[in-house]
Symmetry: C2
Subunit: 446 residues, 2 copies
């Protein structure tokens, strides 16, 4: 599969990363001299952060080309993503050209503001596929247009969350909400009520944490509690009319206000370069997303679902993955407890392959009774590692495994593990039933 | 120390939890018949979730009383927190009473809307201390008033993040931003552009993830990148004038709109009880906050800082903590990898006590070369566990430790661990310098 990315920059680069690291070939077209380094900078960030979301390795990277012209970029493309500046005339004519050059492709615009009917005035048949920065980590894509189902399928396959919106309006949904906050924040700075750092803390120490895992309405539903949503909402009516806001005016973003915000932002964040801030942001997002993934909740559900479609290791290989930033300790090495987790995952693979993975409510389970790990070499965040496993004993009550964790063929650690088959009614060791032991002994020869 | 909580309910209960679980005595006064069960329900949630944020045990719980009257509640109180419904007349007279009954206490109102000068019209000298639900997990407290420094110190000591706002305005900062989003969201539902579930996903799959770790301005600073904040802002000017929003109107939250939202919310979340939703939310928040804590970033910095003030284990006890929800596997047990982490933490305690904890840039370190764990009994989320450690060898290059992890005196697992002192220039084992071995041998007898 091939994606053509029309328009480099931060958004185009993020799209390139999503496709490329999910095995698509990608051609980027942008005539600007800054486009290539901008895209490469985004790809470098994404190459580090995106694989850390998953407990399986991503497929082999696709082929990246920087195309000399639009025709070359669009040749054979299955998906064309336009991410040029927000100028309606520019987008209209470019999308019409794309529709002509790649008539069979899905044609999508990253526009944050325009409606499909605006974009297609020159005869294109583009949909809106509006992503959120950093595109390589945030799953949301707002989809607007006549036929968004096939595009939604593609986006899900590259690990994103398509939100199909049935009614076209300017700025779709998310940017309407963002714009509302932005206007109000500008008033707060302009009126000297708070500076940029205070507003940022008011967000990330409070409701920002809520919104990473539940939206506005579900949060209010909880707040309403037993009284019910309707009754809870009634109390809001009067407050909406209170003079709580400058919302009914539009702030004038003049030179003085721009200078004020820029100075406050420098004081708040100027000690870090943009690149350093990106790294801080990406590591925090990876951490949050991995946490939600463990809970199978919100954006974490998207990642867990996508991972399920990634190639599973086979044969004697029981784990193949990247070490995430959440696994390192003060040495910068993988924390020793995480070795135990990797080997525990390897044991789970053996159980699953043998059809011997206990589920909730089964009358039996496997408990690990002993683990002996030898640490051979250091392992760092971002390392691609794999575990090779040998079933050393599978008989009676006991399953013994020997694991070797490697990076590029070099041993990093070895582990001997003893698991015992347990009868969950007595919670005591019990012989494995039927041919389970034989299945386990043969689990890794397939 | 004693806190008087005036007004039960979700907010009062959250305040009670923050004080109580940080060792304060708490007296709750609310004449309503539903207040006591409401507070107890919040305390039950908080007793489970709050300790999971920390890698150290919280201090012993304070004493909780439900006071028969205001006088009894306020007697001897160091902090009085008013959390009654948002009616100015009610708050004014109640705060005046409180000021009279507890003249030496810090007197604070949870109001989301009123200014201190409004509240103090009857002669009280209250400040605003506006928290965010769930109060026992979200750190933010907006502080507004004449003298907020002493209150800020108390809030930091109970693990919260006081945001001192120098200018009083209706609805402070965060609720201005929330109100803006709320109005816009109401328009989207009313106009049939999106339903409540779509709006919630537009938040938590996209910008909600951003805002859990960085605010609005720092996020835009990154988006601006090398062009700089001022230049980046200039492009926003025109967009602010675009007709992107219904913000310039105030929506009418009439019966029809209330019924529409309630029905959509039922379809979205009605399969879960409020209690179940609270559990989902709290587990997700604990997960996010623990992740940010590991990165020492945003709200995680608040938790890490607070933890530092919690009593450290002493003597042969090297770990004392609660097992967080993030540590359980499909059995509902603590994942075996986490045993390794607990014992690794125990080893760190030994190193720290002996003044032998390597820092970045030191010429030496300790590497774990072998860990042997025996799993004796199951361990579950919420369990209070402690590790007792014995230094079995500290000589030459080698430090050997034997750990026992226990819950209420019952062995859960034992661990034998071998660490080697490493010269970081050669990255090879090397004898411990000076009296380091002797200090390690004596580290747990203090």
């Amino acid at each position: 599969m091939k994606a053509a990315i029309v328009g480099g920059g931060v958004i185009g680069g993020g799209w390139a990363a999503r496709f490329l690291f999910n095995g698509w070939d990608v051609a980027v077209f942008d005539p600007g001299p800054d486009a290539r380094p901008a895209v490469e900078a985004v790809l470098a960030n994404a190459r580090r952060a995106l694989p850390m979301l998953y407990d399986r390795a991503l497929p082999p990277e696709g082929r990246l080309t920087f195309a000399p012209d639009l025709t070359f970029a669009l040749e054979g493309a299955d998906w064309v993503q336009e991410s040029v500046p927000e100028r309606l005339d520019l987008k209209r004519s470019l999308l019409a050209d794309c529709a002509r050059l790649a008539p069979g492709a899905i044609l999508a615009s990253s526009t944050s503001g325009f409606k499909p009917s605006d974009l297609n005035a020159n005869g294109a048949r583009a949909i809106v596929a509006h992503p959120f920065n950093p595109v390589y980590l945030l799953p949301l894509v707002e989809l607007v247009g006549l036929e968004t189902g096939p595009a939604a399928d593609v986006l899900r396959a590259i690990g994103m969350y398509p939100l199909e919106i049935g009614v076209e309006i300017d700025a779709h949904i998310a940017d309407r909400l963002l714009e509302a906050v932005w206007r109000e924040a500008l008033w707060l700075v302009r009126d000297g009520v708070a500076n940029t750092a205070q507003i940022d803390e008011a967000i990330r120490m409070g409701f920002g944490l809520r919104w990473a895992q539940m939206g506005l309405f579900e949060t209010y539903r909880i707040a309403g509690g037993p009284v019910g949503m309707a009754h809870f909402l009634e109390q809001f009516g009067p407050a909406l009319k209170w003079p709580w806001s400058r919302l009914t005016d539009v702030p004038d973003l003049d030179e003085a206000l721009i200078a004020k915000i820029a100075a406050q932002s420098d004081a708040q964040s100027g000690h870090l370069s943009t690149r350093a801030l990106e790294r801080v942001r990406d590591d925090a997002l990876v951490t949050i997303l991995r946490g939600l993934r463990r809970r199978d909740h919100g954006a974490g559900t998207v990642i867990a679902g996508h991972e399920h479609t990634l190639p599973a290791p086979s044969g004697a290989i029981t784990v193949r993955r990247v070490v995430p930033v959440t696994w390192t300790d003060w040495n910068g090495h993988m924390n020793e407890g995480r070795y135990g987790q990797v080997f525990s995952d390897a044991a789970d693979t053996v159980l699953a392959r043998a059809g011997a993975m206990p589920g909730t409510g089964d009358g039996w389970s496997f408990f690990t009774v002993e683990t002996k790990i030898n640490y051979v070499a250091e392992t760092n965040a971002g390392d691609k590692v794999e575990v090779e496993t040998e079933v050393t004993r599978a008989a009676g009550k006991v399953l013994s495994l020997r694991h070797a964790m490697r990076r590029d063929g070099t041993d990093l650690a070895t582990c001997d593990q003893v698991l015992v088959h347990v009868d969950m009614t007595t919670r005591r060791a019990a012989p494995m039933p039927g041919d389970m032991a034989a299945r386990l002994a043969a689990a890794l020869s397939g």
